[in-house]
């Protein structure tokens, strides 16, 4: 960077004004770099404090114990089972529907006002606060459909939350497939669905997968909608089928944070390490997948 700066501002004659201008340029660049760095430094401090506090509490016992009144023996077993169930069901519900909607909008939808309405609607859904999805699921799914505070209700809420995110990401990677590929397939006599299935989806698959993973990892860390759906229970058992009640990792952490005993702060920090560990692994996989794609044409 400095070489560019120097070349650009090499003074014709070395004057005081020139020197002060160059100083101004450099300090401005430093300021901007600082702005970029602050967030990362805070993230570093966050990780450090969490590990510092909860690291000692991490053990196999912590992963395989149920919650307890005594902080030293409390564990995340029920929360992990609940979260795995939730994300599994959310994947089954959200991925096919969202990818289907994305394929429809990119490949099949006629360009008319109705399609435009769906598009605007999806981008608005992406901006709806997550707790509103909790209210929706509470009113419509838990009470309206009578599913109560079950895993079904929780995963439907998370699916609705993930839906717009996946649609937007999937559309982007489908759109990245150049029209010439489609035209080539049409020229060979393929029907619209054959074009989509054989020519468009295979190259877009990587991007779609990355979008799904990122959306689901966000759903995994989400706590707000589940608060309204009764997921904050003291459970000493693991759910066995989707109509069971459950707790989830972020809510278990929330519960521990809210307890007055200092011991639970350590437990909360250890729970956070587990949650962040899972999320960073998932995100790492997504980034690695993105590295390998996108196909160049």
């Amino acid at each position: 960077m400095t070489t560019v700066l120097e070349r650009e501002q090499r003074p014709l004659t070395s004057t005081k004004a020139n020197r002060s201008r160059r100083l101004g340029e450099l300090s401005f660049q430093g300021l901007l770099l600082g702005c970029t760095g602050v967030g990362l430094i805070v993230l570093g401090i966050l990780l450090y404090t969490v590990f510092n506090k909860g690291g000692s509490r991490l053990s196999v016992d912590f992963l395989t114990s149920f919650p307890s009144r005594r902080p030293a023996s409390a564990g995340v077993k029920a929360a992990i089972y609940g979260s795995v169930w939730l994300i599994g069901l959310t994947t089954l519900i959200a991925v096919p529907i969202s990818v289907g909607a994305a394929i429809y909008l990119e490949e099949m939808a006629p360009r008319n006002r109705f399609t435009r309405l769906i598009e605007v609607n999806i981008s608005n859904l992406a901006g709806v606060p997550s707790i509103i999805y909790g209210i929706l699921a509470l009113g419509v799914v838990a009470r309206g459909l009578g599913l109560g505070f079950s895993l079904w209700t929780g995963s439907i809420a998370l699916s609705l939350l993930a839906f717009p995110v996946i649609v937007i990401a999937a559309r982007e990677s489908i759109r990245a497939v150049p029209p010439s590929i489609r035209q080539g397939a049409y020229a060979l006599g393929a029907t619209r669905w054959q074009v989509t299935k054989r020519a468009v989806i295979p190259p877009a698959r990587g991007g779609i997968l990355t979008g799904c993973i990122l959306a689901l990892s966000r759903a995994l860390g989400e706590a707000a909608p589940l608060l309204l759906l009764g997921a904050l229970v003291f459970s000493a058992s693991v759910p066995n089928d989707p109509s069971d009640r459950y707790t989830a990792l972020p809510l278990q952490i929330f519960n521990w944070i809210n307890r007055p005993q200092p011991g639970f702060q350590i437990t909360a920090a250890a729970g956070i390490i587990v949650l962040l560990g899972v999320l960073f692994t998932i995100n790492g996989v997504a980034i690695a997948l993105r590295r390998r794609g996108p196909q160049t044409w």
Binding site: F28, T36, K53, A101, V128
Partner: protein, 316 residues
């Protein structure tokens, strides 16, 4: 399928070109309708959100006057008299959002400028996803950080008696960090979309990089930057877990960021944790608060989209 590439014969015996569109493909029809159905789920979701909020909200407004709800400044759902003045919660929401914006606007804009105007492509490829990590941290983790790290820090700097354990300041500061990527990434898109010729023109007039960035690129990208800021506000307004953990549960119309407050989202969270019976007025109030919250974020999002379309139209 077998007629592909051939011609059909009409009743009059004349040869007509095959109309591919009129071929019947039942399976394809079914597949396309299923996919259309997936798209329609988005409409159904919006309708369901509005229906739930409005129908339950109307129940609430039968018991408590809508005028008093929107103009009242005291929120005491358990007190006598029961008062639901949403301005007390709205004030809390706006206070926390203002703090968050005071952090995220300069930092996000600075980061966007650096990434768009200064960073080399290689370091941008690394910095951008790392910055995005900030948006990927679960908000309950940010809540923990606000309550257990930032608040004690504020108390040791400003004095224990000055800052209450739950306060708007620490929640707002941490929320600001959370929305940096929202502002940075959309602003950076807008700045990168500014045509290179504008920059070169300014360089040609003898401007340095700083002037080009502040006098040419940022003004030219202003509508995109505005969109990112509005989206950031909308995120801050709708954020729940940070305020539920760290901002307290005292509905309090104040400008003092060191006090405990309660936001709209914080109230909804609190009720869902409490022992309010379904069907009571204070339980139904979460739908009225939710309706207010939904309307606010919807307006902000629509406004933001309007600005985005504008910068897309100008430069792309």
């Amino acid at each position: 399928m077998t007629t592909l590439g051939t011609t059909t014969r009409s009743a009059g015996g004349q040869r007509q070109p095959l109309n591919l569109r009129r071929r019947v493909r039942p399976t394809e029809r079914i597949i396309e309708s299923v996919l259309l159905l997936c798209g329609l789920i988005s409409i159904a979701t919006t309708v369901a959100i509005v229906y739930t909020l409005v129908s339950n909200g109307l129940d609430f407004f039968r018991d408590f006057s809508a005028v008093d709800f929107f103009t009242g400044t005291v929120w005491q759902p358990k007190g006598a008299p029961q008062l639901f003045g949403v301005l007390a919660l709205l004030g809390g929401t706006l206070l926390v959002s203002a703090v968050a914006l005071a952090v995220a606007l300069p930092l996000g804009l600075g980061a966007a400028t650096y990434l768009s105007e200064y960073a080399r492509p290689g370091s941008r490829r690394i910095l951008k996803p790392v910055l995005e990590l900030l948006a990927g941290v679960p908000t309950v983790v940010y809540g923990y950080f606000a309550l257990r790290t930032v608040t004690p820090l504020l108390q040791s700097v400003l004095g224990d008696e000055q800052v209450s354990i739950f306060n708007a300041l620490s929640a707002g500061l941490v929320m600001g960090i959370m929305i940096i990527p929202t502002i940075a990434s959309l602003s950076e898109d807008a700045m990168s979309a500014v045509p290179q010729s504008l920059r070169e023109g300014a360089f040609g007039l003898g401007c340095g990089r700083r002037r080009v960035a502040t006098r040419v690129v940022i003004p030219a990208a202003l509508s995109g930057i505005a969109a990112s800021v509005i989206l950031g506000i909308s995120r801050a307004v709708g954020e729940t877990m940070i305020v539920a953990v760290a901002a307290g549960s005292t509905p309090n119309l104040t400008f003092d960021v060191r006090e405990s407050i309660q936001t709209m989202t914080g109230y909804i969270a609190q009720v869902s944790l409490g022992d309010s019976q379904q069907g009571t007025v204070d339980y139904q109030s979460i739908f009225a608060v939710g309706l207010t919250l939904f309307a606010m974020t919807l307006l902000l999002n629509l406004l933001s989209q309007r600005f985005v379309t504008r910068f897309r139209q100008v430069y792309q």
